[in-house]
Amino acid sequence: MTATDQSAGDAPRAAQDNHDNLLIFRLEGEAFAVSVKGVHEILDLQSPTVVPNAPACSPGLINVRGVVVPVFDIRHRLGMVSGTEHASSRMIVFENVIDGETGRLAFTADSVEEVHETDLSSLEPIPELGAIWPQACLNGAIRLKDELVVLLNTDALFAPDSVDDVAATRGA
Amino acid sequence: MPKTVLTIDDSKAVRDMVAFTLEPQGFAVIGAENGAAGLDALRARRPDMVITDLNMPVMNGLDFIANARSDPAGMGIPIVMLTTESAPDMKQKGKAAGATGWMDKPFDADRLIAVTRKLMG
């Protein structure tokens, strides 16, 4: 998977006509998408090292070829129940800016579907159904083969927990 | 074998600049940070040309030139002194000590290459 190469090659065009390549993946049957520009690589599941007293959004760490990468729990952030592993489950290593620092994180998807080129101007507002997820984490939806794919706002999605949130999870 | 240029300057920046300018032109560049170290390098490495600053600690450029010219390793090779503000008396003192030519600071890469080529062919 050379997602980054692909995005690099397409970047100039995307800038011109507002097209972007989206990586589409599934959680609990729902289709979600993130911009492929941030996707560093896609891995088979790894069991993370548990970080004690960690905020619920990032319970552990994995080793991605010599780099220690925090695992981010998207389900928790989106208010989903914690799911089970599937044979198709993958970890998506994503590069973004957290607290002003560029860093990588990894999150689990039940399956990774495809990379799809999309005209971002065709983005639709999230319909009523989407309201079950925190609005701040969503950029909108696109219609793909009769299905709505929710485009995630990765900046908000991957923001560290608020202080209260962290304190609440810190039992000791 | 590439011709070797010895650059003597207490400023590493200047030595770097000489090296970065002349190395791509096919010269080997060695450095020394004052006249005394320059004499050692002159005897040990037998450079084909020397570019020396004048105002340096330990041993200044004029003393270096005078010493170099009385040494077999320094006889007959081009020695360029780096001068400032075209101070004519320093040029004369340097020439009297045995300098082949001079270059006024500030100099740029083109000037350095031109002078090097002029003196070494």
Binding site: P48, T49, V50, V51, P52, N53, A54, C57, S58, L61, I62, N63, G66, V68, P70, F72, I98, E101, G103, L105, P160, A172 | D10, S11, K12, A13, V14, D16, M17, F20, T21, M49, P57, R69, M75, G76, I77, P78, I79, T84, E85, K95, G98, A99, T100, G101, D104, K105, P106, F107, D108, A109, D110, R111, A114, V115, K118, L119, M120, G121
Partner: protein
């Protein structure tokens, strides 16, 4: 390529200007010719190199100060307080020029600013304006080819080098070749001065040349050929054969004067990368890349160890051991490259102390010791702020006023002593003053008022002093403009914690205080003790480990909320890590206690097992995990798993709060 030279210049200029500050400060106590020479040389180099590396505005500004010290050097001008004051201010401005970067609108604006103008005007007052007109960018005697096509001219040249010319490196044949490059030539020798063979002195130049050149290069190009041959006997005559095309009456070709072909020196265009990269002798990015590779090598080595262990082949094991030895050697060598003398930090404080003592009206001398103690570059980069805070505190709060000191029978001049020394794998840096000392009663009252301590509790002397590092202890009311800035001693402690170090205070009423920072010598790779807790592996920095003891469940003693453990004849507070980290008890019958020590405080950390020890490459934690108490970083184990590294300093504080003489705000 040239960016590197520019970066080297910027770094060098910074170093020079740092040295310049010291040199100027030293002039205050009287000057020797050597010192003046040094100051002159620094200014001369900054000016000269500045012009070459695209910092001409800096060079212009520096020029008048160089000139002033030239006058001092020649004995025309004496060093007075004015000159010292001005030079210090000018030095600061020179640093600003470096900060701004190479020539551009910003540097031009700074050069044209009131501050620059005033400084230059004041220095000219002192020097009497002599020689201050800056020589315009030195004209290039032998610039490029003449500006335009000159008329085709026949030059008749006679040339006889000076007798010493060959010994002095002139090669007349190259000059003739240069002439040949300029146009069609006709060359003849002049043997008239050649002595008889018996009188011939090898090495003397005795040939002469006649050269006719037909060229449209212009007279200045011909002059340039002979630029260095100024002692030679040289005549050049010229005869214009036909007018040059398209010169349109321009007098560009008026080649009579050698200056006609000269052009003003173009300031070498400095690349954008002229900003200071944090480099000492190599750019730190390269150093970091090297450290990264070394880190990976160390991890691969650990993996190799694990594989070799599982195979159990003796031949393999001996090779692995050899590789281990080599890697350790390489690690130590690489880490040592990163070590810098702490002097680079200390030297900055001479100025700080001088300015502060003026500002506060206190007479203070700074003594620095152990400046040659070497510390990791990361520490050097980050230790400045905490130290500055401690020094400010010492002068502002620690030292009394001159009158108070005299009244107390002390030397009215106070002393601040900065010292550094290495102790094992740690470096101890102290800031000490001989002032009034910490007021234990005032600290106690304040701690009670702030709710940091309850009325009934009494603490030991050092525990009281350590209260000053509690968050929220310092208050605005107590802080002057100097040490204020909203940063308390707790900020100092958290900065030191972040470096994996610790802070300690000693104080004697009326005699002064000493604050000691204990820091690891290196930060990137440490020796670590691997311990197991349930299914997890943690790493404890070996430098903090005193010993490991066994502990049965029965040994655990919990007395009135204090968790202490008897080690021989000593009671040691301990933390059960599984409890701190919210992990289920393993239920293991026999457990182990790792006794760690920081600042003379020993505590026990209860774990399930000791796995082993080895080199540990420290990886920093992401923002998600950075603030979790007790965790200092992560590392990758030989089997590829991630393990967490414990932050022992924080754990010790936690244990002392819980198990030691209790503070009211136990965690």
């Amino acid at each position: 390529m040239m960016e590197q030279a520019v970066a080297a210049f910027v770094q060098e200029a910074r170093d020079l200007l740092t040295g310049l500050e010291d040199q100027i400060l030293e002039l205050e106590g009287g000057s020797t010719p050597g010192q003046i020479d040094e100051v002159f040389r620094i200014l001369h180099t900054v000016k000269g190199s500045g012009g070459m590396f695209g910092y001409t505005d800096l060079a212009k500004f520096t020029h008048c100060f160089e000139n002033a010290f030239e006058l001092v050097r020649s004995g025309t001008l004496a060093v007075g307080p004015d000159l010292i004051e001005l030079s210090l201010e000018a030095r600061d401005l020179m640093v600003e020029f470096l900060d701004i970067g190479s020539d551009g609108p910003d540097s031009a604006a700074l050069l044209a600013s009131d501050r620059s103008a005033k400084l230059m005007a004041r220095i000219e007052e002192i020097t009497g304006g002599s020689g201050n007109a800056l020589a315009p960018g030195a004209a290039e005697g032998a610039g490029g080819p003449a500006a335009g096509p000159a008329p085709m001219t026949r030059f008749e040249i006679t040339f006889r080098p000076h007798k010493d010319a060959l010994r002095n490196g002139m090669r007349p044949e190259l000059l003739v070749r240069e002439l040949e490059d300029l146009g069609e030539t006709d060359i003849g020798f002049d043997l008239s001065q050649t002595p008889a063979l018996s009188a011939l002195e090898p090495g003397d130049a005795c040939l002469g040349w006649h050269v006719d050149v037909m060229s449209d290069c212009g007279r200045s190009a011909i002059d340039d050929v002979f630029i260095f041959a100024d002692e030679a006997a040289l005549t050049i005559s010229e005869e214009v054969l036909e007018p040059a095309a398209e010169t349109g009456g321009s007098d560009l070709a008026d080649a009579g004067s050698p200056a006609a072909g000269a052009k003003p020196a173009a300031p070498s265009q400095s690349p954008a990368a002229g900003r200071a990269s944090e480099s000492i002798r190599v750019a730190s990015s390269r150093m970091d890349a090297m450290m990264d590779s070394l880190g990976e090598l160390v991890i691969a080595q650990a993996r190799l160890d694990a594989v070799s262990d599982s195979i159990g082949d003796t031949n393999l094991a001996s090779v692995v051991e050899e590789v281990q030895r080599l890697v350790t050697g390489l690690r130590d060598a690489t880490l040592s490259i990163r070590l810098l003398p702490i002097e680079t930090v200390f030297s900055k404080f001479r100025r700080v102390v001088r300015d502060l003592s003026k500002e506060l009206g206190k007479d203070v001398q700074l003594v620095a010791e152990g400046g040659d103690t070497e510390v990791d570059k990361t520490v050097i980069d980050r230790i400045g702020d905490p130290l500055a805070h401690l020094v400010r505190n010492a002068i502002d709060h620690g030292l009394e006023t001159g009158e108070q000191r005299s009244a107390a029978g002390k030397n009215p001049r106070g002393t601040v002593r900065m010292s550094a020394r290495q102790e094992g794998s740690e470096v101890l840096i102290s800031v000490e003053d001989n002032g009034r000392g910490l007021d234990r009663d005032a600290i106690r009252a304040k701690a009670i008022e702030k709710g940091l301590l309850d009325e009934a509790t009494d603490l030991s002397e050092s525990e009281y002093y350590n209260l000053i590092f509690q968050p929220g202890f310092s208050t605005a009311a107590q802080l002057s403009s100097v040490s204020g800035r909203g940063v308390g001693m707790d900020a100092v402690r958290s900065m030191i914690d972040a470096l994996g170090g610790s802070v300690d205070v000693v104080s004697r009423p009326g005699l002064g205080s000493r604050i000691t920072l204990r820091l690891p010598v290196t930060m990137a790779i440490i020796e670590g003790l691997r311990v197991r807790l349930g299914e997890s592996i943690y790493v404890i920095p070996l430098s903090t480990v005193e010993e490991c003891v066994e502990m049965s469940a029965a040994d655990m003693e919990s007395r009135s909320g204090r968790m202490v453990l008897q080690i021989r004849d000593q009671m040691v507070p301990y933390l059960a890590l599984d409890e701190i980290f919210g992990q289920p008890h393993s239920g293991q019958e026999t457990r182990r206690v790792v006794i760690v020590r920081i600042n003379g405080n020993e505590i026990g950390l209860v774990v399930d097992d000791i796995i082993g020890q080895g080199q540990t490459v420290i990886k920093s934690l992401s923002p998600y995990h950075r603030d979790i108490p007790g965790l200092g970083g992560a590392t990758i184990l030989g089997d590829g798993r991630v393990a967490l590294i414990l932050d022992v300093a924080t754990l010790v504080r936690l244990a002392l709060k819980r198990g030691g003489p209790t503070l009211s705000k136990a965690a």
